[in-house]
Symmetry: C2
Subunit: 432 residues, 2 copies
């Protein structure tokens, strides 16, 4: 088993008992086996010794909501209302996506995420075998789900559900456990109630969690009330969704009562500040969710509504916007925001040994070059990472004990080929 030691490093651990450590970290196989100020005893021999000076090591970022293939539509439609953007720009183009396009878009996104320090991502899309293969190839950790839209005939519904079940069953636990799966009705507004119930039953049968979009826009909430007489939370509760472990994307428009319901069922919220701002969906009630004890994490959403997959930017937005909007300068502190983007991200997708630099945790971590003007003076590195760092400060990325990025270069994917194929796919789609 490969044994690596990083010496003279600055470690931002996300372990509350010792948040910052100046010292050493040892990785054996895919686990962190030691972290501390002193060199580990007895002195051992290592396959690799890394000088960590000038670097800050921290847990990899966990992106808990997205549609990786949508990077093909980055910049294709901006500054439009959500429904117009979906109906006139996104859906017509996505309708043309083949498995090959999903492969090209997903690989582009995974490359961007890896280089920006994201070590785990959630993906809800179609042609999910391509997404799983991209995860296998690239070395990224992934929680994947075939998102199904049920506005179609019973036959098509059946076929989609069967496909979602087969995907979830085949891939759960694959790639040395790096891949896990979920079941996903796309949203209450794109799935009839009986179809949602069938998906919930399948999740029970497979013993898997559920991931869905919910309460992203005020319009969607109102339409749910108009159509079903219930707001989305009560609607999904009634359909049994929350009887499964559930991760909900967005949750922008929630009442106090709904927050209580979510807490009671331990429903997790993937907060997507960049996407919610850009699509003018609103600002989620994150301070209230956190106060209520709801587990919140961060997601980029697809690159078409963000428009990058930069999790450090989402962390910063989470720390900034709730202060500005609420008028409370202590709403969502820097360390809280960073926790949402790392440890709580992993917990949100039921990964209990990911998201902190601590003995026994999986070796999913990144290094940032802190020998740069915006990291000076050396005051508070949590503050510097949250308020000052950018994704391109990430130089090295290790996932499950394997280096996937070194000195800013991705070791597992051919960058030129990934960019070229994404451009080709986009040009083919626009020419159709």
């Amino acid at each position: 088993m490969k044994k690596t030691i990083i010496e003279n490093g600055t470690f931002l651990t996300m372990n509350e008992e010792a948040p910052m450590i100046q010292g050493c970290m040892v990785i054996e196989g895919n686990r962190i086996t030691y972290i501390g100020e002193e060199a580990p005893l007895p002195a051992g021999s290592y396959d690799e010794r890394i000088d960590g000076s000038g670097k800050l090591f921290m847990p990899g970022l966990v992106n808990t909501h997205g549609h990786a293939a949508m990077s093909l539509l980055r910049g294709y439609g901006d500054d439009m209302a959500l429904q117009v953007w979906l109906q006139e720009k996104m859906w017509p183009m996505e309708g043309k996506f083949t498995a090959q396009d999903v492969r090209a878009g997903t690989r582009l996104s995974v490359l961007e995420m890896l280089k920006g320090g994201t070590t785990t991502f959630v993906d809800m899309y179609d042609h999910m075998n391509e997404v799983a293969n991209a995860a296998v190839e690239s070395g990224i950790r992934a929680c994947l789900t075939r998102g199904v839209i049920g506005l179609c005939s019973r036959e098509v519904q059946d076929a989609k559900l069967a496909e979602a079940i087969a995907f979830a069953k085949n891939w759960h636990g694959q790639a040395d456990g790096r891949i896990t799966t979920m079941m996903s009705p796309h949203s209450p507004y794109t799935c009839p109630p009986d179809y949602i119930e069938r998906i919930v039953q399948a999740a029970h049968d497979l013993n898997l969690p559920i991931h869905t979009h919910m309460s992203e826009t005020a319009r969607e909430v109102q339409e749910n009330v108009d159509q079903y007489g219930l707001r989305p939370v009560a609607h999904l509760e009634k359909l049994g969704v929350f009887s499964r472990p559930t991760l909900v994307a967005h949750g922008v428009h929630l009442t106090d009562e709904e927050i209580e319901v979510l807490k009671r069922y331990d429903v997790r919220i993937s907060h997507n500040p960049g996407s919610n701002l850009k699509l003018a969906s609103g600002v989620a009630r994150v301070p209230e969710l956190l106060k209520a004890g709801v587990l919140v994490s961060l997601g980029t959403d697809g690159a078409a509504s963000n428009n990058n997959l930069d999790m450090l930017e989402e962390v910063r937005l989470a720390a900034l916007i709730h202060k500005g909007v609420s008028g409370d300068p202590v709403a969502v502190s820097a360390s809280e925001a960073l926790k949402l983007g790392t440890l709580d991200g992993a917990r949100s997708i039921w990964l209990d040994d990911v998201g902190a630099l601590q003995q026994g945790m999986k070796a999913d971590f990144i290094a940032l070059d802190i020998d740069q003007p915006h990291f000076y003076p050396r005051t508070n590195f949590i503050s510097h990472v949250v308020y000052s760092a950018v994704s391109k400060d990430v130089t090295d990325v290790c996932i499950d004990g394997r280096w996937v990025v070194r000195k800013g270069e991705c070791l597992t994917m051919d960058e030129e080929k990934v960019k070229f194929e994404a451009q080709q796919s986009f040009e083919r789609l626009t020419a159709l």
Copy 2:
């Protein structure tokens, strides 16, 4: 006169008639003398030929409000209310700043700004000779002003005003015109009315503009009403401030009537979204200001309240937060936000030949490496720059026809020395 041609480049011009050009740009001395799709005729000889492929060239960013020396306090106090932060953290430390500290902090900030693509900055601080010297040395364009706080004896007021006048007089037009100056009462809440009137008179005498903080927090507005019976806009109007060309920082809390007054006097607003969010000051009414025809630009404010000097981040925040907060997905478009950060930034400080890539304009421009995943596919580069780029994508920076950054390295400052001296200053200040 040195003559440079950039060939095969992608140019984001900020010239409405031809916003994107794939072609060539020629720089002679400190001016752009040609930009177009075809090679310029007749074919000439050049001192330098640059292959622009894989690069996006655009006007340099213009940072219209800040306190560069405050980078020494980056991360020193976070997640606190503005008044507490000022009174308990910032002012006690700033009180200890010597000229040497201002030199160290300013040079750290200028280095960060240059590397992140800022080609012009506004600075309001003390020990301004140090700031001007840093501008001379580094090659950056600067609009500088000695900010005076008048909560002191008449003698001290007199001395500060004399110093501000001397600075403004000595430095205006220096460094081949790269440096211009203004006069600055710090704010209505830190300067008695009669002192503000004296500063206005000095600005008249010197024929210089005025720069001040105004209406940053709701508390400040209320205290102005309590103390003087007027909101800050009416108060400053009454004191004659707007009889001079004026650039106001923040302008977060404004009524419709106040916006009309600002428009009538052609007062310019430096919108500082990152700082306003972090200090929980609120969200400025930028869509309303723009609709009223007020000239708005962008500023980082000091690094202690931001915590970086990343103007691309301010551009992105300007494009994102007003959508999310207003619920209007077309509020502040990508191209509008980019204009605030470039062309309108220059216009805000009365520089009419800066901020666009166009024949006759000053050669203040930057290059971004667009051969990276987050710039694919090649759809809309304005969108990519605003929603997807980060400061570290900037590879080259040219100011007034002189390269100050090439391939990510600053040519005019010793980076190691700048970082070392900033750290030294910080350690000295905290040890006092």
